[in-house]
């Protein structure tokens, strides 16, 4: 076996509508590892790419919500299975991107996968925890059902390259939304890998869209896009949020702006991207 074998290098593309295109702008940017060494050229998403992703997300969301909660849970769990089977690869990439020790990187990947399993088990619990029958004063059967907001745009954590992506993505997806997430600008590779794995996890195309690029350029585009229902900016610096929220208010988006990966925040995120729909039905002979 030749030691001088040339590696077949990977091209890192966007994930839009279940397919892996380059940016329509043709742009790429260099991703360096924690030591400044070249890792890869990664597509630099443009506003048009985001627009395409929203179109795909909107179309896919109806299909995603029409599947049973059980089915949605199984799909998310399948992604966890895929990630687990590539645990080593993910850990190597996290280690390179973040400059942490190998053991730390493995723990981070394990936490991320376990978190995905946690989300997989949420899909068919949300109705029971956040919905229910209401005892109105009158001959009516009244029940509240939690339904997803629709299309959620999210900004991943700039530094935590794997876990930081999962929390802004899978809460909304478990609740039945479709998501367009902008991965960490400097450390996007784990996100791109996860995108690849989602393609073999039975996600309908368009439910999960992963863009790589520049948050300063794209966040305002996301905020202003009218056909986006929810906006997760918990990972944007606090002093940069006001302008984004002002823009998002144009279409009364649901905005999430809390930071942190704890469980309480994860549940808060899900609740932000859920609407309650209440039905009244008369009762009588």
């Amino acid at each position: 076996m030749s030691e001088n074998r040339l590696e077949v290098r990977k091209t890192y593309k966007l994930l839009i509508n279940g397919a892996f295109p380059r940016s329509e702008s043709g742009r790429t940017y260099e991703v360096l590892d924690a030591e400044g060494k070249f890792l890869a050229n990664v597509a630099q998403a443009s506003r048009k790419d985001f627009r395409e992703a929203v179109v795909a997300a909107r179309a896919a969301q109806a299909k995603w919500w029409s599947q049973s909660a059980y089915n949605r849970g199984q799909v998310i769990y399948r992604l966890a299975e895929m990630a687990e089977s590539r645990h080593g690869e993910l850990a190597e990439v996290v280690e390179a991107c973040e400059g942490v020790k190998a053991k730390e990187a493995r723990k981070s990947v394990s936490r991320g996968i376990d978190r995905m399993v946690w989300y997989a088990g949420w899909t068919d619990k949300i109705s029971q925890i956040f919905g229910g029958a209401n005892p109105v004063a009158g001959p009516y059967f009244n029940f509240s059902v939690p339904v997803p907001s629709g299309v959620v745009a999210a900004i991943a954590h700039p530094a935590n390259s794997f876990e930081g992506l999962i929390d802004v993505t899978f809460g909304a997806i478990a609740a039945g939304n479709s998501v367009v997430v902008l991965a960490s600008g400097d450390r996007p590779i784990p996100a791109v890998l996860l995108g690849e794995m989602s393609a073999v996890s039975d996600f309908p195309g368009g439910v999960l869209n992963i863009l790589t690029g520049n948050a300063a350029e794209l966040a305002p585009v996301m905020a202003a896009h009218e056909d986006v229902d929810g906006f997760d900016i918990g990972n944007i610096e606090a002093n940069a949020r006001v302008e984004l929220i002002t823009s998002a208010a144009g279409s009364i988006k649901r905005v999430f702006e809390s930071e942190g990966f704890d469980e309480a925040n994860a549940v808060r995120r899900m609740r932000t991207f859920i609407e309650t729909s209440t039905v009244w039905h008369t009762k009588g002979q």
Binding site: K125, H281, T282
Partner: protein, 485 residues
């Protein structure tokens, strides 16, 4: 012009059966205690047979009181040393593994269940096995979310659960018991029914493949005496029983004052209520599903048909025509609708109760289907001119026998439906939503199906009121049975 007769079901269906070979049933089984099977030769044994052919399938162990003690001690040790220290997320991952393994070996499970129970392969394949996997999948997701279940910030398990299940849905009942118990953090000793132990024993293999820690689940086969020993064992903290009201009553009496927690899922005499504006073709299917699904061996069966008088004749005519189309026979045949009765004892019970129907003056319509020579079979039967005092209107037959009564008003329908000591399930058929809801809230039943029947889902709580038992299986409410809340 003369009248014509168009024969239904004339096209012949395939009788090449699903192959039994995939089941890989062993000649003999020991007990599954502490993660291993004991040596079958160490135990007295009994046979389990295929009720469709009366052929012996295997020899299984009769667990005596020493075996019950060994199983309970294994469960207690596993609880104290391992499972109570296993975090929610880790418990979840075991349950997800089990769900996936059931999915992977689903054909094996379906064929084994059909051979051991007598129910059609179409049902084991499309209903029993998928629902069992789904049940584990659903409760896996609760294991790390108990604080959201509405039982307080940190609800605790009960300890060791002794679980006794019936023969009508052997694998599914095992799933209904084990999944929530394990999710909540308990360890289990499960006793499958005497006539249907095989899928529970196959499940034990799955638990080994999932590497569930030793002793977390123990499966002990045996007859009523095994169950009694389990119920009375002092180190069991919780008893969950599904079976007849008679035995449920005995259990409740026997553990009185012991401090053991108890849930019971018992018998029923479900009323399937048909209003004049019901969608007629779907109603006929629903009546059929309500009583002939699983040969009527269903605690929540729609065994009393209450039809609004104005449409009774039309419904009956269509129903009888449809009953004649039911294919009764080899359960391994994918085209079979109705399979075998589970045992000679059950068949005798069905026959005895059915004959009282005629004795008491009801009119009997029985399918003219040809029954196989060997095995235990009962032809689908409908009784009309039934009054509420007839035994066939009051007692659970647990077979493919339907009793039809009539009513005039919604009020009368409710009164007749509730005229029973049972309260498990009912059906309501109407296109008028307000009436359906009005009737539903007046029915004394734990489950009400509207424009459908015999639908089950792990997210939907199932259980009865009054003498049909207490406690719920499935849904968020299903956790309550296994938490100390």
């Amino acid at each position: 012009m003369e009248s014509l007769h168009s024969q239904l079901g004339g096209l012949q269906y395939d009788d090449a059966p699903e192959s039994a070979a995939i089941a890989k049933i062993k000649n003999e089984y020991g007990l599954f205690i502490n993660g291993k099977f004991t040596d079958a030769k160490e135990h007295k044994s009994f046979l389990t047979i295929n009720p469709a052919t009366e052929e012996t399938l295997s020899q299984v162990a009769q667990a005596d009181s020493k075996d019950v003690d060994a199983a309970v001690q294994a469960a207690k040790r596993a609880y104290d040393k391992v499972w109570s220290k296993t975090t929610g997320p880790e418990r979840a991952k075991y349950l997800f593994r089990i769900a996936r393994l059931i999915q992977e070996r689903s054909r094996e499970f379906a064929v084994t269940e059909t051979l051991d129970n007598g129910k059609p392969i179409r049902e084991t394949r499309d209903i029993d096995v998928p629902l069992a996997a789904a049940h584990f999948f659903y409760y896996a997701g609760w294991a790390d979310k108990l604080s959201y279940a509405g039982y307080g910030p940190d609800p605790q398990p009960l300890g060791v659960a002794g679980q006794i299940i019936p023969w009508n849905f052997p694998l599914l009942m095992a799933a209904w018991k084990l999944a929530p118990a394990l999710a909540a953090g308990n360890t289990c000793v499960l006793k499958p029914a005497e006539t249907t132990p095989l899928t529970a024993l196959l499940l034990a293999e799955i638990l080994q493949q999932a590497e569930l820690p030793d002793g977390v689940v123990n499966i002990i086969t045996g007859d009523g005496s095994t169950g009694a020993a389990l119920v009375e064992h002092p180190d069991v903290n919780k008893i969950a029983f599904t079976g007849s009201t008679g035995v449920g009553r005995m259990i409740q009496q026997r553990i009185a004052g012991s401090g053991k927690h108890l849930t019971l899922e018992l018998g029923g005499k479900g009323a399937n209520i048909v209003f004049e504006d019901a969608p007629i073709d779907e109603v006929v299917e629903g009546i059929i599903d309500g009583i002939f699904f699983n040969q009527g061996h269903v605690c929540c069966a729609g065994s009393r048909l209450l039809v609004q008088e104005s449409v009774a004749d039309d419904v009956l005519r269509r129903l009888i025509r449809r009953v004649e189309q039911l294919r009764v026979g080899n359960p391994l045949d994918k085209n079979t609708d109705v399979g075998a009765i589970n045992s000679a004892e059950q068949l005798a019970r069905i026959a005895e109760l059915t004959s009282t129907g005629e004795d008491e003056g009801a009119t009997r319509h029985t399918s003219t289907c040809v029954l196989p020579q060997k095995g235990f079979w009962f032809p689908p039967t409908v009784f009309t001119n039934v009054s509420q005092s007839h035994r066939i209107a009051r007692e659970e037959i647990f077979g493919p026998v339907l009793s039809m009564l009539t009513f005039r008003t919604p009020e009368e329908a409710v009164q007749k439906a509730n005229n029973t000591n049972y309260g498990l399930a009912c059906g309501v058929w109407s296109e008028k939503g307000s009436r359906t809801l009005w009737v539903a809230e007046r029915l004394r039943a734990g489950v009400i199906w509207a424009n459908t029947y015999n639908k089950f889902d792990p997210t939907s709580p199932f259980g009865g009121v009054r003498e049909s038992g207490f406690g719920r299986e499935g849904g968020r409410q299903g956790l309550e049975a296994y938490l100390n809340v």
